[in-house]
């Protein structure tokens, strides 16, 4: 699974750095280094609803540290069957 975190100007201002860190932490905590490739991405074109991420081909918007656990559960762990 490939996860891209948008680091365009407006997502950055809405907290891309913290979202990327949260993903890094979650990947490490769950020992998913072999299953997930994590990367930053230039603008994903969803500037109004940042922070945006792309999981494989699906774009998920509106991430914040509050919504992160939910996105991690439903969009990452579940599809991986974990």
């Amino acid at each position: 699974m490939k996860i891209f975190v948008c680091v365009g100007s407006s997502c950055h201002l809405k907290g891309s750095y913290h979202i990327l860190e949260a993903f890094k932490q979650a990947v490490a905590d769950n020992h998913l280094e072999d299953d997930i490739t994590l990367s930053a991405a230039f603008c994903l074109g969803k500037c109004r609803d940042g922070v945006s991420i792309k999981i494989d081909e699906e774009i998920v918007t509106g991430l914040s540290l509050e919504t992160f656990p939910d996105v991690w559960q439903t969009k990452v762990l579940k599809p991986l069957g974990k």
Binding site: G8, S9, S10, Y17, C43
Partner: protein, 390 residues
């Protein structure tokens, strides 16, 4: 004018406890573009010295830039300067370097430490003619300029550094020559060299300079162009034209902005390769596109670069950050401050819908203002700047 570029940078330390510096550096440009650089050191310290040195450097640079003979300049200076009540004399020492067409240097020295010339990193002495004008001894030299020549002008605060603390006789000219020869690295800018020399003086003074201390450096280098593109054109039909003009000609190519990077990638038919991580939590990570030397985020990166640029013109306090770090703003700063002598901005005027969000502290006018301010500060560094809008 030759293909050489005069990179000029200076930095001063105030005498400990003084609010204002008694040394003054003035750079004046002659009609043909040749720079005239004057370093003056006013008698005493504080306001009085500052007035003397400011007047001296202004008079000398303005008159010499207009090709008036040295005798007339000196006479005007002596008659204009206010006379010190304590000492009964009007006095400011000075060093003048006139770069004629950037081909020849004319150097006039009056009572300042003699100019140090490094040629390809090695110190060379140059002939000086001794002139006596109104009882004042002025040394005059004229020499051909070579690429990589570095001229270092100093006020006597530099050679007195360390007296009474670290060194018995101060940091003598020979010691300074040895120091700068060891420091000479072709990539250091004039401002950086001036910063390194004055930092060393400050250290020798135990961070309490006993006198106003100034180093002014002129570094002759080959011209180098950089093209910087920021923002998509207001009409997408102009993408092609913008890219053609941006990619044409020699020089490094820099792309700032996510959408702008997409336009570049599409034109070059290459992928935007994202880089994985934040090196500075405040600066969005860079990316790369084959054929482009640097790809960064737009407005935030440029904004930080502007902060560094302003600091460069003042005390250069952020030098230790931008000179080494690998985040987008630092890399952009190195390209603009160190590599480039000629910078061409290609600015797209499209309004980014994302920036119109009232929740965000950025908008279109900020981008335009950023470009204007950055181009102004780069001009102040002595660089040639052009800005084209699309």
């Amino acid at each position: 004018m030759t293909s050489l570029f005069a990179d000029i940078g200076h930095r001063s330390l105030n005498k400990y406890g003084e609010q204002i510096c008694g040394d003054h550096v003035q750079i004046h440009t002659m009609k043909d573009g040749s720079p005239v650089v004057v370093l003056a050191d006013g008698l005493g310290s504080g306001i009085k010295a500052n007035i003397l040195s400011t007047l001296t450097s202004q008079i000398m640079s303005t008159m010499l830039a207009n090709n008036l003979p040295l005798e007339v300049c000196l006479e005007t200076m002596v008659k204009t300067l206010p006379i010190c009540e304590v000492r009964g004399i009007a006095y400011s020492t000075f060093t003048v370097i006139r770069l004629l067409q950037n081909e020849e240097a004319e150097i006039l020295q009056y009572d300042n430490p003699h100019v140090i010339l490094l040629r390809n990193g090695r110190h060379v002495e140059f002939p000086k003619e001794k002139l006596e004008i109104d009882g004042k001894i002025v040394y005059k030299s004229r020499l051909y300029i070579h690429e990589n020549d570095v001229f270092i002008m100093l006020s006597d605060g530099a050679i007195h550094a360390g007296i009474g603390c670290e060194l018995n006789y101060g940091w003598q000219r020979d010691n300074i020559i040895e120091f700068v020869q060891n420091m000479y690295i072709a990539g250091f800018t004039a401002k950086t060299l001036a910063t390194i020399v004055t930092d060393q003086c400050n250290k020798l003074y135990g961070f309490k300079p006993g006198d106003d201390t100034t180093a002014c450096v002129i570094r002759m280098r080959r011209r180098k162009a950089v093209h910087l593109m920021i923002g998509p054109p207001s009409d997408p039909a102009s993408d092609e034209l913008l890219m053609e003009e941006f990619m044409s000609g020699p020089g490094k190519k820099v792309v700032c902005g996510g959408t702008t990077a997409e336009i570049a990638a599409r034109y070059l038919d290459k992928e935007i390769v994202p880089v994985s991580d934040y090196l500075d939590p405040e600066i969005p990570p860079i990316a790369s596109i084959e054929g482009i030397d640097l790809v960064t985020e737009g407005i935030l990166t440029v904004n930080r670069c502007l902060v560094y640029a302003k600091s460069y013109l003042e005390d250069n306090a952020h030098y230790s950050t931008w000179a080494y770090k690998k985040d987008g703003a630092s890399m952009l700063s190195r390209i603009l401050f160190e590599d480039a002598t000629d910078i061409h901005f290609f600015v797209g005027k499209a309004v980014n819908p994302a920036h119109q969000n009232p929740d965000l502290p950025i908008d279109f006018s900020i981008k335009m203002r950023l470009v204007e301010q950055l181009s102004d500060t780069l001009k102040e560094m002595g660089k040639r700047v052009t800005v084209r809008y699309y």
